[in-house]
Subunit: 191 residues, 2 copies
């Protein structure tokens, strides 16, 4: 059993609309951490009235030690794929937490430190299918945070990709990594 | 907001091996409850070392009121799709809880009250694909417990079925309902 080390805990919230694949993204991220990076991970969805309104949210907790509480308490990372998701969850983040938004869908951000990436456009451009936006988003998130290794997320994406879509999903993930590299540099220059 | 009513809480554990679709089954069951039956639901996976050994487990909590704790504490229902899953989790069930096993894969059960259904064989026979065993299992579980309505689970299965597999999945679900009706009757006769 891994040693208990609470400082290692990373709380990630992926939020958007139904059909954007947030739940699958959460599963892939948790599997990358647990199966390929040998950490512990939990992955949770809570469905209430907002699920019937079309909102979708997945929560992932990753820790090298044991995980007592499987849900996000205060997020280290928020991915917001809709304006509603950004408005709803941006207030529940750690100080210095990372907010990533899909620039195509989120016009108003609560802080100039938010990372805006044209995620759905990159999905279209890299893979020809907007449905891969969740995988582009995983590429951005992992590229910026290193919460799991790039190798682990690539393996987890491929393992969950429906037959015949592996290539398309790999392209989407690479586009996400590339965007992270560019954004990361831009931020480094600014500071 | 629905009234708090702890006696309504149903804790369901779906356990088997990776590739048997336990996680997807958990998502479908939670969505049936929340989106189509207007209850609250949570769905959780915890991945530890056993995930790397190939075990897979999904937990679903359904309540008409609010859900404080998203994980299964003591299961009301256990679906065991492998001998390992049965051995590991059958001890953590409520008295009078319902244990459903895939008769094709689980030889030893801890109680003569366990419900044995040839789930993977029914999947093959009804849909031609053993991959639908998770949907057959949902049909059995919902048919026996009524934890969500048959209509809700049918809608949730169809909404999550990959394009072109809707018919196959509906057939698998119907086979599960039929098995539940048969098993239910047999049990009623026994007692």
């Amino acid at each position: 059993m891994a040693a208990k080390n609470p400082s290692n805990r990373m709380e990630i919230r992926l939020a958007g609309e139904g059909g954007q694949g947030m739940i699958l993204a959460g599963i892939i991220l948790a599997e990358a951490a647990a199966i390929y990076d040998h950490k512990n991970a939990t992955q949770t969805q809570s469905y209430g009235p907002e699920a019937r309104g079309g909102a979708s949210k997945a929560e992932v907790v990753i820790d090298s030690g044991e995980i007592d509480h499987p849900e996000v308490i205060v997020a280290d990372v928020l991915l917001a794929m809709s304006q509603e998701a950004c408005d709803k969850y941006a207030g529940n983040m750690k100080k210095g937490g990372l907010l990533i938004v899909d620039q195509e869908r989120v016009g108003r951000v609560p802080s100039n430190r938010a990372i805006k990436v044209p995620i759905s456009r990159l999905a279209e451009e890299s893979s020809g299918k907007s449905i891969t936006a969740n995988v582009v988003a995983l590429g951005v998130l992992v590229g910026l945070t290193g919460v799991v290794s790039r190798e682990a997320i690539a393996k987890a994406v491929t393992a969950r990709a429906p037959k015949g879509t592996e290539e398309m999903n790999r392209a989407a993930l690479s586009a996400g990594f590339a965007a992270a590299d560019l954004v990361g540099k831009k931020h480094a220059h600014k500071s």
